[in-house]
Amino acid sequence: MTKINFYLLEYAYAYIIRNKIKNIFIITVFTLLVALLSTVFFITTTVEHEMKGRIEYKPDIIVEAYKAGVRSSVDEKLLEKLLEIHGISSGNLRLEGVYDFRAKNVRFYLYGVAPFEEVSDPFIKNILKNEELNSSNMLVSKDVKELMKQAYYDKYFNFIKPDGSFKKLYIKNYFNIKKRKEFQNLILLDQDALREIFGYKENQGSYIALSVANKNELDFIASKIRLMLPNVKVISKNDLNVSYEKLFNYDSGVFLSLFIISIFTFFIIIYDKANGLSSEEKREIGILKAIGWRVEDVLHAKFYEAALISFFSFTIGFLLAFIYVFILKAPLLGEIFMHQNLLDIHTFNLNIYLELSYSLLIFLLSVPVYIAATLIPSWRVATLDADEVMR
């Protein structure tokens, strides 16, 4: 089969048109099935990809202080104590927090920056490279700037301190978040300004970020800190990976059941189709043989017919899924992942990410199977004598 036989292709096309009702039904079912499966995989792979990306730049070990079972601020003295541990290569007192902007019902993510401090995240590092902050200005993301503008804060913003007074910060500049969707509501500001806004005392911070040079030693050091300081919560990067994965696996379990159901439905349809042809179809093959077609010509035409239907449906289904997930932002199915989760993803506003292997899997599960299911019964009929079929 080196060349496409256009006469047979035309015949196959004419056959599809002739049996309009039946083929429209097949195409609809096929398209919906591919769309459903692709949607499942698009959503799970994008969320997983996003999760991996977010963990990548987290510190190796996070140490949070707890007081009466509730998270509280960390003292700088603790950092000095932790730095004495062998294997920890560097560490700093981080100042971060979430500020509730009630007028717009959004939460700003405030990230405190100390001059000369080493920033591990390349994105933030890049922003800070040519900007110097002082305690009366800040850098905001484009979205934040937009939100502030809606509340008539064009040049500056008044943060409300815990005691009710204002802390006025000027908007120095804004930045585009590009692909880092988790920084949609990011505000970069000086550490002292952040302390003032959240009411931290001097030498206090939100948590301690430690980095470990030898990653083999990570878990050992984490457990060592746990033993040393009973009142802190120690989260190593490995723990973080595990807990994200756990949550993700639970969510994708729901998806998997959906996937299995749709695959089974598809195979039932295929089984039904492969089991036999209608008498009309049998007669058609018989006539073709009677007017001189060889078995291979019949199969050729049938192959074109099945290929046309399945490729068309696959493409449309794939496109529908793409539009549904990435352009319409997965209205109903996306909700499964959008609950109160560790990543704080509240809208399915993620980057487009396609994993080719899954698309290939869906393709191989649907198109060749359908073609085979069309060819096998036709071949069975075509090998019989023409008069036997038409009788």
Binding site: E80, L83, E84, H86, S90, F116, E118
Partner: protein, 225 residues
């Protein structure tokens, strides 16, 4: 006369309070103060030449005079001064630097034939006097080779377990018998100083701390048993 003396004493005290030598532990200096100082030095105050000053106070004074560094907060000035006085000055006078241990994807260990890029933490290196370099997947294999060819002169390098920085094995401390295994099983874990080796020994149930001079060929082969 007495008033003059008193004034001098007072002046001395004020001076010492102003530029008191900051008292940090070695670990904090290494992990926090020096990197901070280095960054400040490189971004703001690279004009200061560490060899110009006779004392820490002189450095501190010079920082206060320099127009770029004048406005820094006290803690940053301290870090900068410490970096210049304790690190930068020493670095200038003694420029010995160890090579970075980096291997390509095709490099194999001459002793066991394993690919090295999979275990970047364990890569060790042997350098002949003529500049020829050989890479191994651990100190154990390196020493096997070393003892087979012990007639020639060569430099040995590996990574410090905790800091992952290159160290010369001639002045390294090794821990044997610990519960940390390399790609080839039991390993000699290298450390830059006795303190960290001691710490590792206690943490990871090591048996013994040894130096390169004390290691015999038999000891190395015994690790494989």
């Amino acid at each position: 006369m007495l008033l003059q003396k008193l004034f001098l004493i007072l002046l001395f005290f004020i001076n010492s309070v102003l530029f008191a030598y900051p008292n940090y532990s070695e670990a904090i200096k290494e992990k926090q103060i020096y990197p901070l100082g280095k960054k400040i030095y490189n971004t703001k105050c690279s004009k200061l030449d560490p060899l110009d000053y006779k004392s820490f106070e002189a450095v501190r004074e010079a920082i206060n005079q320099e127009k770029n560094c004048k406005s820094l907060q006290v803690k940053y000035k301290d870090a900068l001064a410490l970096y210049i006085w304790e690190k930068k000055r020493v670095q200038k006078s003694n420029t010995q630097k160890y090579p970075i241990l980096k291997v390509s994807h095709s490099e194999k260990c001459p002793i066991c034939g394993m690919f090295l890029y999979k275990y970047p933490r364990w890569v060790s290196m042997l350098e002949y006097g003529n500049g020829k370099k050989l890479y191994f997947d651990g100190v154990k294999d390196l020493l096997k080779y070393y003892f087979q060819h012990s007639t020639e002169s060569m430099d040995l390098y590996a990574r410090d377990y905790y800091t992952q920085k290159t160290i010369s094995l001639k002045n390294a401390y090794f821990v044997i018998g610990s519960d940390v295994y390399g790609p080839m099983g039991n390993e000699l874990i290298a450390f830059k100083d006795r303190k960290s080796a001691q710490n590792f020994l206690l943490d990871h149930k090591g048996k013994k701390i040894i130096r390169l001079k004390e290691i015999t060929e038999g000891m190395v082969y015994k690790l494989d048993d």
